[in-house]
């Protein structure tokens, strides 16, 4: 909470000072989550304190350093990126390896596919996940199907698309979206969302080296808010493997990205207020997702709550829910609960009411426990 608060206070300071007749000015709503750092990984050598954007830079730095074919491109990446994720890389590796493109998302992804088709490593940035839709055709019809349709004569496996993702407090309709479910319906892609700096670096490096086109969504609200001790050297966290962050026996909570931290708080609340033991799972990879870890957990707890920021209808929770119901029918003791965004566009001033915060999750959990 402290770190998030600092960012918001700084944000408030940078705004013009207004006088309010009623005395104290209205304060922005507090952050909806408390970031909980992972323990420091010791097995990969020396670590450094990094926030999420710095751990992304570190991964990109490692990737460019190890792979002379690797290039990074997108809108405004050259000066360091609007979220500072590529700071210093152009100076270190040259402007033919870290460069701006024209402002055109379908071009960025098509261009990246073309680089990958030659076997070189292409790391494309889409400035906000909200603006990935102009590239939907290149991603779904082209990138995802390249290997299959050519009988493996050609592929674009060395393509990774990074994009800032998720709500940010005041991003409204086009700086808040969580579009993972749109892509989850597309065979051939991998979709990954990290929950913090250590995860982000290890998962991003895995995406970059994976032999399939990957979309890596970075929870932008964590860029500065989340700080952890991150190994300086490259390391890899496997794709398609969920993490059981906290063991429990009464209910399974599944989420990804920022929402994992909400789930962790809900688990504490459930323990304190209801004496309920929650198993918290970070799914991490949306496609292909780790069915086994989730089903194993539900077979044990008998209850499942899935939560994501994206709208509920057609959201990825529906896929998880349906699969778990098929696999764990005899174990389920209550209907699976989905606590998600509402089926509306993502609003500006109503964000505090829109997001599936810990109180909404807690209440759904409480009702599920009492079922």
């Amino acid at each position: 909470m402290a770190v998030v608060g600092a960012v918001l206070r700084r944000a408030a300071v940078s705004r013009p000072r207004l006088r309010f007749a009623g005395g104290a000015p209205p304060r922005r709503h507090a952050a909806h989550f408390t970031f909980q750092a992972d323990p420091e990984p010791t097995q990969y050598g020396p670590t450094q304190k990094m926030n999420l954007f710095q751990s992304i830079t570190s991964a990109l730095d490692n990737a460019l350093s190890r792979d002379p074919t690797a290039v990074i491109f997108g809108e405004d990446v050259s000066f360091g990126g609007v979220f500072r994720c590529t700071v210093g890389l152009r100076d270190k590796y040259g402007k033919d390896r870290v460069f701006n493109t024209p402002l055109c998302e379908q071009g960025i992804v098509g261009f990246g596919i073309g680089i990958a088709v030659t076997g070189a490593t292409a790391i494309a940035e889409i400035q906000f996940a909200d603006y990935i839709f102009p590239a939907f055709d290149q991603i779904v019809n082209e990138a995802a199907k390249y290997r299959y349709r050519s009988g493996d004569l050609f592929n674009c496996g060395s393509l990774t698309i990074r994009a800032p993702w998720g709500c940010v407090g005041h991003g409204a309709l086009y700086h808040s979206q969580s579009p993972e479910a749109f892509f989850a319906h597309c065979p051939g892609l991998k979709i990954v969302v990290p929950r913090g700096p250590v995860e982000a670096k290890g998962l991003l490096l895995s995406c970059i080296e994976d032999k399939n086109p990957c979309i890596f969504f970075e929870p932008k609200i964590l860029y500065r808010a989340a700080v952890e001790n991150v190994p300086v050297e490259p390391y890899y966290i496997p794709l398609s493997q969920a993490d059981v962050l906290q063991g429990g026996s009464d209910v399974t909570l599944v989420a990804w990205g920022t929402q994992v931290h909400v789930m962790k708080e809900v688990a504490v609340m459930a323990q304190e207020k209801l004496g309920v033991s929650c198993e918290v799972i970070d799914l991490k990879t949306i496609l292909p997702w780790d069915t086994e870890t989730v089903c194993k957990s539900v077979a044990k707890t008998g209850r499942l709550l899935i939560s994501h920021e994206a709208p509920v209808t057609g959201g990825f929770a529906a896929e998880i829910s349906s699969t778990v119901q098929e696999e764990c029918f005899l174990n389920l003791e209550a209907p699976i609960s989905r606590v998600c965004g509402y089926d509306t566009p993502f609003p500006h001033i109503f964000e505090p009411f829109y997001i599936p915060d810990k109180w909404k999750c807690y209440d759904a959990l409480r009702k599920m426990i009492n079922y």
């Binding site: 024209p102 055109c104 998302e105 379908q106 990246g112 290149q138 299959y148 050609f154 051939g188 292909p288």
Partner: protein, 431 residues
């Protein structure tokens, strides 16, 4: 996509540690002069004190480069590429072999033996002329009406047929519709149906090839209809700003299915767009294989040397139907089609040229027709006899590895076929 994000960025980045000059590759002029000279960063131009709109020049457009006339006579000897006899004969044989294959496969579709086909009638010259001007390792991205490029590179008839039949010999494993060819060894990237998607991809490949310093280029073919897609805009602009060694080759054949060019664009065709992107551009007679060859040869030479894109618009006419699912008499006259078929055809023009040199005569024509037809028919019959690939090939190559959930789906289908196999055409497929 417009992003009104400046304010947001400021909130998150209170003191950006960068100098404005670092971000600019193109240095702006210094603000030392007080003269009345424009200082706008977006363009380099003089002021003008009269209100004047720039008029598009569509009545008298970019001229069409030509080397030989309709009777196969070289018009300007200094433009004659003076290709040796063997090479010209290879041009002719590739074009006519493609034409023969087109006729047989078109008929086979009419008889329901293959599901779909698209002919290349009238555009054979654009394929062969351009392919011949490339190095064999130059990477080709196409749309779907460029089979002649593969033919020129020696793609076996068996494999053309294997793809159309989706039989067990198809390197594409029978997954795509007919005429979606691809060949890794011949550097011909597998065709896909979505139009123009290959254009920005080709640019990315050209960028990577430039970084390899491999003395190669990329050529990217597309029709004038595909040029209306957003991806065409993306590709042209990226190629220019990122200085990529690529040739954009537009086949302007007058129609996108039923849509005439008057409903496709209002400018001076596609060539006129090139300069707007800062791309060197030329328009050629697409029925003149030497004009196509010369333009491609020079564009290739300069693209390699200068790392910049070139645009060639080959004017031609789509003599055949758009595809076997189309009857073009529903939207254009038979007379129009006949004109191009009989009076101005790339094959007959090259035949005139060869006859003029004494390189070809009626007798040779007869023999070659018979021989090429025999070769195509043999490949055709063999392709038809072959089994389709094992149905389990449906599940591989979705990813480089087969994920657990797809493995389970494959096992599920196997179990299903064990029980219900008689309801499926298993006999036509390899086991």
């Amino acid at each position: 996509m417009g992003h009104c994000w400046a304010q947001f960025v400021c909130l998150f980045v209170p003191s950006p540690p960068f100098q404005p000059s670092q971000g600019c590759l193109r240095q702006q002029e210094e603000f030392t002069s007080l003269e009345e000279k424009p200082q706008f960063p977006g363009a380099s131009a003089e002021f003008i004190d009269r209100l004047e709109f720039i008029q598009p020049n569509v009545i008298s457009g970019i001229p069409i480069y030509r080397v030989m006339d309709r009777q196969g006579q070289i018009i300007n000897p200094s433009e004659d590429p003076q290709l040796p006899k063997e090479e010209v004969l290879k041009f002719y044989k590739s074009m006519t072999l493609l034409n023969t294959m087109d006729r047989i496969l078109y008929e086979s579709q009419r008889q329901g033996r293959i599901s779909f086909y698209m002919t290349n009638y009238g555009e054979e010259g654009t394929h062969i002329g351009s392919a011949a001007a490339l190095d064999d390792t130059d990477l080709v991205f196409g749309q779907y009406r460029e089979a002649g490029v593969l033919m020129h590179r020696g793609y076996p008839l068996d494999l053309f047929m294997a793809q159309c039949y989706g039989n067990a010999s198809d390197p594409g494993k029978g997954r795509q519709m007919p005429v979606h060819y691809g060949c890794k060894d011949l550097h011909f990237v597998t065709i896909s149906s979505p139009l123009a998607t290959q254009i920005p991809q080709a640019v990315g490949s050209a960028y990577a090839i430039k970084r390899e310093n491999g003395n190669r280029i990329v050529i990217c073919y597309f029709g004038e209809g595909a040029a209306s897609e957003g991806d065409a805009h993306a590709g042209f602009n990226f190629a220019a700003t990122l200085e990529c060694p690529i040739i954009f080759f537009c086949r302007n054949n007058g129609y996108a299915i039923s849509t005439p060019t008057s409903e496709q664009y209002r400018g001076d065709g596609i060539a006129a767009r090139g300069p707007g992107y800062g791309i060197h551009s030329i328009r050629v007679d697409g029925n003149d294989v030497f004009a196509v060859y010369n333009a491609t040869k020079e564009a290739r030479r300069r693209a390699v040397a200068e790392n910049q894109p070139f645009l060639i618009e080959a004017m031609t006419y789509r003599i055949g139907h758009h595809s076997t699912s189309d009857d073009s008499s529903a939207y254009r006259s038979v007379d129009e089609v006949n004109y191009w078929d009989k009076q101005d055809h790339p094959i007959s023009r090259l035949r005139h040229y060869m006859a003029g040199r004494g390189w070809w005569d009626e007798e040779q024509e007869k023999i070659w027709r018979k021989k090429s037809r025999k070769r195509v028919m043999e490949a055709f019959e063999e392709a038809e006899r072959k089994l389709k690939p094992n149905p389990l090939l449906m599940f591989s190559d979705v990813y480089s590895e087969t994920p657990r959930h797809i493995q389970k789906q494959q096992e599920s289908m196997e179990r299903h076929l064990k029980q219900y196999g008689e309801h499926y055409p298993l006999g036509l497929y390899e086991k």
